[in-house]
Symmetry: C2
Subunit: 146 residues, 2 copies
């Protein structure tokens, strides 16, 4: 329940510093993050960080819920961004292996913090949600819509 204001102040300083460094960069960084921080990309990053090198079918089983199409698509994008390396062995049936580049591993490490945050604060978020919804329902009862 207590807050580490030292840490927060530090974060604020960091964020402010980056703003000052280069105003143009902000947009680019934001774009990169937006591109990289999507649902499937993060899950694939995680799975590849965990298992090292994986073939397409194996990957599709480990990334629960993804469709073949989205897996292909996301992997291509990640390859384009330089996050994964795609190795095709010219045999039949085809054998294609995917693994993270240094860049990909670095991103995995960076995301680790968010991952940990999410894990640690799951309960708090769910709590906040039900509380919010409760307040919304109360307001609804007080001022019902037409």
């Amino acid at each position: 329940m207590s807050v580490d204001f030292t840490k927060h102040a530090e974060v604020q300083r960091k964020l402010a510093q980056e703003e000052k460094l280069d105003p143009r960069v902000q947009g680019l960084v934001n774009e990169v993050i937006a591109r990289v921080a999507d649902k499937w990309t993060m899950t694939i990053l995680d799975v590849l960080a965990e298992h090292g090198e994986l073939r397409f079918t194996r990957l599709s089983k480990l990334v629960t819920g993804i469709s073949q199409k989205m897996l292909t698509q996301t992997l291509r994008e990640m390859e384009r961004e330089g996050l994964v390396i795609r190795t095709v062995h010219p045999v039949v049936p085809p054998r294609v292996e995917y693994r993270l580049t240094d860049l990909g591993l670095g991103l995995g490490a960076a995301f680790c913090g968010v991952w940990v945050w999410a894990e640690q604060n799951l309960a708090r978020i769910e709590e906040a949600r039900t509380e919010f919804d409760q307040r919304a329902a109360d307001a609804q009862r007080a001022y019902p819509r037409t």
Copy 2:
């Protein structure tokens, strides 16, 4: 160009550990991250971390490019997740202030790593992209579509 394998191994251990902790959690965490890691949410988080407390109109000017609708919408979602606090002063014209909760500040801190990563690796990503596109163009020239 060199790789810090120590760090990477560490990351892999961390990620693996978390997997083991609770398989159900993975889905939940992923959902939370997916919800939180969108373009506007991150930008707003950033701006609020930098400026502390802001009114609606001021916020809309600092978050360049956002429409009134999306700002309202995103702020409501963030409030629901417990990331921001919305304070309404019952005066006229209305005065509404937004600021981050501890949870929001914590998320900002966690994302800081990703932010730094993106900033540091911008060049490498752009490089990877042009390289990829070049290879794609070459392949295209070698095997033109019908």
